[in-house]
């Protein structure tokens, strides 16, 4: 009896999944940043690179230092008398804690959007026109009008407010007010936009609009968002940094942080196991 058995060739092990991409170019570089509020050591030795034209999410429990760190990036902590910041933060090649630096100029480069929408008690138009006007970005009324229109369009608000530009900004809905604040931030042509829980006061529909907007904006801006919603961080960001007790525990591609984080503290936090 002849028996012919041809062994099937088994291919070798497939190449390991491509290594998670590191940020190609860092827009913001922080090295050994410490923040003290009086005696309280609020942020401990944070070093991180924030990639350009991408969304980085800061997550962590309340009081973990994420907002404190965010506020270092446009020197908002300067407004708190007992706050003291050490270490180094660079945006491109600019040392933002250089004593000769003009903080007003810095804040034009680094815009900020807060938790509660805080439009000025002025017209929709004035809310957006104010920044470019004081920074002298527009040489004529027509140019200013154009900046206002473009900014409102970029913030996805133009269609809703173009016929009511002289109405008060505070009369808009919560979600519209937040987009107005984003338009106001964009109007001075920043490179970086900091967002401190921008959706926590909004309903799910307004939140979805803002998230959609963030996704569009990242083509042109470096965005950092502080959020308490893990799902939001997972949805909108490309990189995520987890803070705990003033320490930056882990930073990496969002996908990795939410599927297979390397630090147990991160895992406990994202899965809701924090004691």
């Amino acid at each position: 009896m002849d028996v012919m058995v041809h062994p099937i060739k088994t291919p070798g092990p497939a190449s390991a999944a491509a290594a998670a991409a590191a940020p190609d170019s860092a827009k913001i570089i922080a090295r050994s940043v410490n923040v003290y509020y009086g005696d309280k050591h609020a942020l401990k030795d944070v070093s991180v690179d924030i990639p350009e034209r991408a969304v980085t999410a800061f997550i962590g429990p309340s009081g973990c230092g994420k907002s404190t760190f965010l506020r270092c990036i446009n020197r908002m902590n300067d407004t708190i008398p007992i706050a003291r910041v050490t270490g180094e933060i660079r945006i491109d090649d600019l040392d933002i804690y250089d004593s000769s630096l003009d903080v007003v100029q810095l804040r034009a480069r680094v815009g900020m959007v807060f938790q509660k929408p805080n439009p000025f008690p002025k017209s929709v138009y004035e809310n957006v026109a104010y920044g470019p006007r004081i920074h002298g970005h527009a040489r004529s009324k027509a140019e200013l009008e154009e900046i206002v229109e473009t900014s409102l369009k970029k913030a996805g608000l133009w269609e809703e407010v173009k016929d009511r530009l002289s109405d008060s900004g505070t009369g808009l809905s919560g979600g519209q007010q937040q987009r107005l604040c984003i338009a106001r931030a964009i109007a001075v042509s920043p490179e970086v936009i900091l967002m401190d829980e921008p959706c926590s006061a909004l309903d799910p529909i307004a939140t979805a609009r803002i998230e959609e907007l963030i996704d569009e904006l990242r083509a042109n801006y470096t965005i950092i968002i502080v959020t308490h919603s893990m799902q939001q961080a997972a949805r909108v960001s490309q990189r995520t940094a987890f803070f705990h007790l003033g320490v930056l525990v882990e930073e990496g591609p969002t996908e990795t942080i939410f599927t297979n984080p390397s630090d147990k503290r991160t895992l406990d936090y994202i899965t809701g196991r924090f004691g």
């Binding site: 009896m1 099937i8 088994t10 799902q231 297979n260 994202i270 899965t271 809701g272 196991r273």
Partner: protein, 238 residues
């Protein structure tokens, strides 16, 4: 890992899912053992019991699927929790198929009623079934213990079952050539052997799922394959 959530109800959800799956695993294992027993002993009653009991496996699968979906909706799980649930879904699918395959073997016992009995031919099938059952048991234990290493041991040895199936295939072909009266029996035994071989494949699937569950990465390595029946030739005896 399924305890210590801030939300106790979440722990409860995951525990429930895990225990349902353990129940399903135990049941599937028993169906496989009973179907082979029924085949070896030509026990029609036992075969009928296996056929009826497969409904329970199917029901458990639907139950697990429903619970898993509900848990995802309610808890929006992340990382290990999400893997727990996805793994439960995948393993339940594999076990459901294992139940179906055992049922198919049992049906063949009914078809063979009154046919010529051949202990010699059965021995090979039984031996292969014992090996697969041991794999199934080990992989289910590995799931219970969340033990990736034990699971990978099953995964690495999948080739042995394939090799045994290939040799059984050849053996049965030869019997059929020797005496055409054996054809009905041998064809049924061949399908039973194929069922068992595929149960082995499902055990290997489960091993891969356990690896994913524990390690957090999908196994990209090609599994060891030794099933060469699709290219096996046996020439006619002269």
């Amino acid at each position: 890992m399924t305890d210590q959530h801030i939300l106790k109800a979440f722990d409860e959800d995951l525990r429930e899912l895990s225990s349902r799956l353990a129940e399903m695993g135990g049941l599937a294992e028993r169906l496989v053992a009973d179907s082979v027993d029924a085949l070896v002993k030509r026990d029609v009653l036992m075969a009928q019991r296996v056929i009826a009991a497969d409904d329970q496996v199917d029901a458990l699968q639907r139950d697990i699927e429903e619970k898993a979906i509900l848990t995802i909706t309610r808890r929006q799980p992340m990382a290990i929790d999400l893997r727990e649930i996805v793994s439960a879904l995948r393993i339940a699918n594999d076990l459901e198929r294992v139940g179906d395959l055992a049922k198919n073997t049992a049906k063949r016992v009914l078809a063979l009623d009154g046919e010529y009995q051949a202990q010699k031919q059965l021995r090979g099938v039984k031996h292969m079934a014992d090996m697969v059952l041991q794999r199934l048991k080990q992989v289910l234990d590995a799931y219970g213990a969340r033990d990736a290493e034990r699971a990978m041991d099953v995964w690495r040895r999948d080739g042995e079952v394939d090799a045994m199936y290939t040799s059984l295939f050849r053996e049965l072909l030869t019997y059929m050539m020797e005496d055409p009266r054996h054809i009905t029996l041998c064809i049924h035994l061949l399908f039973a052997a194929k069922n068992i071989e595929r149960i082995g494949d499902h055990a290997t699937n489960i091993a891969e799922t356990i690896y994913y569950l524990v390690v957090g990465e999908v196994l990209t390595e090609e599994r060891p394959k030794l099933d060469t029946t699709s290219i096996t030739k046996v020439s006619l005896p002269r």
